[in-house]
């Protein structure tokens, strides 16, 4: 019987109770060409070290929970196959540009605050009135925002964005893309409320269009494009507000 093939996973470890700083720990895992990096991490947790901490759920690129740095690249580990790296070692780290809670788990607090700030939901003042039936929308109107609605909040785009890592005021790719998604929705009436948040300081203007958020996005959302479009809307709104400040209208 042939010896079982293995490969090495170098895993970022950090336990706040005992560690002053992070360290890497090497694990030898079975190599199976059908396995993804998440399978290998789960195998380590089940068979070698139960204290290894990571997030995951669906295993099919939908929940957005298992985003990590795989050899320095932000990836959904459920979609990163071992065979694409074998026989070289794989280095697994928590997503960069986020504080690390423990091992491979990052804090999502800052992201959640930014996401909520852009009000990623349809805003109308007539939601209690259903007498008119559904809010109708044509396929062409749907096409204007559908791409941006595919975001799964995996935060890979934040890990790929150099601005997100250096500028706290910047709302970041996913939050801005979702804000733009609702601004482009023909059923929505909340653009002014969102722009009040998006146009402040570096919230959107911090983006320098590096474009790597779009490169790493596993759902092809194109946050970089959404942000540039939102900037154009914001620039128009800025001049409108300059000419006609709030409160001076009828």
């Amino acid at each position: 019987m042939a010896a079982e093939l293995t490969m090495t996973l170098e895993v970022f470890r950090y336990h706040p109770e005992t560690d002053a700083g992070p360290r890497f720990q090497a694990f030898e895992v079975p190599y199976d060409e059908d396995w993804v990096v998440l399978d290998a991490i789960n195998w380590i947790k089940d068979h070698v070290d139960g204290s290894l901490t990571h997030r995951w759920s669906c295993r099919m690129g939908v929940c957005g929970s298992c985003g990590m740095m795989v050899n320095g690249e932000p990836k959904l580990t459920c979609a990163a196959f071992l065979k694409d790296y074998f026989p070289r070692p794989i280095k697994v780290e928590p997503l960069v540009n986020f504080p690390v809670e423990r091992d491979l788990v990052v804090s999502m607090d800052g992201f959640m605050e930014k996401l909520q700030a852009v009000k990623p939901y349809i805003i109308r003042d007539d939601v209690d009135d259903t007498s008119g039936g559904e809010y109708l929308q044509s396929p062409a109107e749907l096409a204007r925002y559908k791409q941006y609605s595919m975001c799964i909040n995996c935060m890979l785009c934040y890990a790929a964005c150099p601005v997100a890592g250096h500028e706290d005021e910047f709302l970041g790719p996913a939050a801005l893309a979702l804000g733009h998604r609702y601004n482009k929705d023909s059923r929505d009436r909340g653009q002014a409320e969102r722009l009040d948040v998006m146009l402040v300081g570096e919230a959107i203007w911090g983006c320098t269009f590096v474009g790597e958020c779009t490169v790493v996005c596993p759902k092809h959302v194109d946050p970089a494009g959404a942000i540039q479009q939102a900037k154009a809307v914001g620039a128009q709104e800025f001049f409108k507000r300059f000419v006609m400040p709030k409160g001076t209208g009828a």
Binding site: P16, V100, P162, T208, G211, G225, Q229
Partner: protein, 128 residues
């Protein structure tokens, strides 16, 4: 207990991904484009001073150093233009009904097409 771990800021962040390097190259080419605009403004100023002044300026910028500077500025301007034309369809997507125009076609419609049209018009105006 030391709480959450914050990675240190990376000053050499632009070396971490090829895409960051391409971004920096695009931004740096802007410097050469801006510098060449200054050269053109000076040229216009000398042209306004008369034929002799312009001829003197032309002689001053015809050495090998200036030739190299012109080539560098041309390469930088072309790189800057091409990378921006590639980015235009992201910033200004064109829709035909439910369909989004493919990015290469949108780049031609909004970038290369107008660029070549204006260039051809200028060449025609100068050569007529």
């Amino acid at each position: 207990m030391s709480g959450r771990y914050h990675r240190p800021h990376r000053w050499a962040w632009f070396l971490e991904r090829p895409g960051y390097g391409r971004f920096m190259a695009r931004e740096l080419t802007g410097f050469f484009v801006a510098a060449y605009l200054v050269v053109l403004v000076v040229a216009l100023g000398r042209l306004g001073d008369g034929e002799a002044a312009f001829a003197e300026w032309l002689a001053a910028v015809s050495g090998p150093g200036w030739t190299i500077a012109h080539v560098v500025a041309l390469v930088a301007a072309v790189w800057h233009s091409v990378t921006w034309f590639a980015a235009v369809p992201q910033a200004m997507p064109l829709h035909l009904g439910e369909r989004k125009l493919p990015a290469p076609l949108a780049a031609v419609v909004m970038g290369y097409g107008p660029w070549l049209t204006v260039t051809a018009a200028i060449v025609w105006w100068v050569m007529r």
